[in-house]
């Protein structure tokens, strides 16, 4: 059994999943994966929707994505354990060690900070890689094309200046 799917097969399968999610046989809505975060924050911090209006906006899509993400955790775990055999505990990505530094503390602090701003950014724009790139651009939405263009530029500029050019 193959341990890894080629990019083109992954792209075709992802397109089919997207079409299924959009269709009335599936969920009749786009695929998204960042609204669940403020929704979970509301649940975990026991925030009152009466007081925080944003929780009312994200109530339905947040719950939908919450259930979807639980499925993704299960699907990811099962595939990692039984198919790709890639399940292992680690705190340090190999490429971080090669192109940034070998400090675990540095990796964890940067992870926390980047995780924080990743969600702030996604919520400001109203979507992420799934909601804007995959779902939005498939609908030829201008909002998603603007987001996609800005993200690509910001991603590559950060990649250039944040990491070292040569592996140590």
């Amino acid at each position: 059994m193959k341990r890894r799917l080629p990019w083109w097969l992954g792209g075709i399968l992802m397109a089919l999943l997207l079409l299924f999610t959009f269709s009335i046989f599936g969920a009749n809505r786009p695929l998204g994966a960042s609204t669940y975060v403020p929704y979970f924050a509301g649940v975990l911090f026991n925030m009152d929707p009466q007081e925080y209006v944003y929780l009312q906006h994200v109530k339905n899509p947040g719950a939908w994505e919450g259930v979807m993400l639980l499925g993704a955790l299960v699907g990811g775990f099962l595939t990692a354990v039984f198919v790709t055999k890639s399940f292992r505990f680690s705190v340090m990505p190999t490429a971080w060690k090669a192109y940034k530094n070998s400090s675990v503390l540095s990796r964890l602090v940067w992870s926390f900070v980047a995780g924080f701003f990743l969600i702030i950014g996604a919520r400001l724009a109203g979507g992420c890689t799934s909601g804007h790139f995959l779902s939005g651009m498939s609908q030829t939405a201008f909002s998603s094309m603007i987001f996609g263009g800005v993200v690509l530029v910001s991603l590559i500029i950060t990649g250039k200046f944040f990491y070292k050019g040569d592996a140590k």
Binding site: L19, W96, G121, C128, S130, S143, G148, S154, I156, K160
Partner: protein, 219 residues
């Protein structure tokens, strides 16, 4: 409401919302997680590697998926099996959000969809990133009215190629889709691989990668 009640509430909302049963939504999640894990595009080396322009697997897969889906979705909607759900053009929100999102994605090496899948395969650093994300969600929710909503600016509508280009719009959708598929194929496939995962591949898969020659292995 208690935590348990709020979690039960999540399932109740999905059960009553009419966007697929709990089982269908959960299945969509399983497939989403499975496809991303199986293609290994949730790896730091794939996403941060793309930011460093050392790995092009993510843009190739993403552009191909969008190219195919944009053309197929057009027909799906035409036949009445789906409808469009467009996000508004909140220009400053999109630009400021996009800058923060792109920079964070390069540093964390994940996005909000791939992150949980990495956690499911045992990546503790991403779990720490997710805790940061939950705090981000908390702060955003808390200061939405006073700070973030004004920052997002006003919406310039929900425009798309389809509703702005008039009679011939459908041709532009095909052009858009085909252009993305061609771009996906034409981007040279370079890879940044770590030995820990490379060692899990079958002999045949390793030979395939080595035949490609455009790759870099790190330990």
């Amino acid at each position: 409401m208690s935590l348990t009640e709020r979690i039960m509430d999540m399932f109740n909302i999905v059960a009553n919302e009419g966007h697929g049963s709990i089982a269908v939504v959960f299945l969509i999640g399983i497939l989403f997680g499975g496809i991303i894990q199986y293609t290994r595009v949730d790896k730091f080396e794939k996403i941060a590697g793309f930011a460093m322009l050392k790995d092009t697997t993510v843009p190739k897969m993403l552009f191909l998926a969008i190219g195919i889906a944009s053309i197929a979705l057009f027909f799906e909607v035409k036949l009445g099996y789906a409808s469009y759900h467009i996000k508004p053009m909140i220009v400053s929100g999109l630009v400021v959000g996009g800058i923060l999102f792109g920079a964070s994605m390069a540093i964390l090496g994940k996005c909000p969809g791939t992150g949980p899948i990495s956690i499911a395969e045992g990546r503790i650093d991403v779990l720490v990133g997710a805790i940061g994300g939950i705090f981000g969600g908390y702060i955003f929710t808390k200061y939405y009215d006073s700070f973030f909503k004004p920052l997002m600016g006003e919406s310039y509508g929900k425009e798309t190629l389809l509703n702005t280009l008039g009679d011939h719009a459908s041709w532009f959708v095909f052009l858009f889709g085909i252009a993305l598929i061609i771009i996906a194929i034409k981007i040279p496939h370079i890879e940044l691989l770590d030995e820990a995962d490379l060692s899990k591949l079958t002999e045949e898969e390793r030979t395939e990668i080595e035949a490609n020659k455009k790759f870099e292995i790190i330990k």
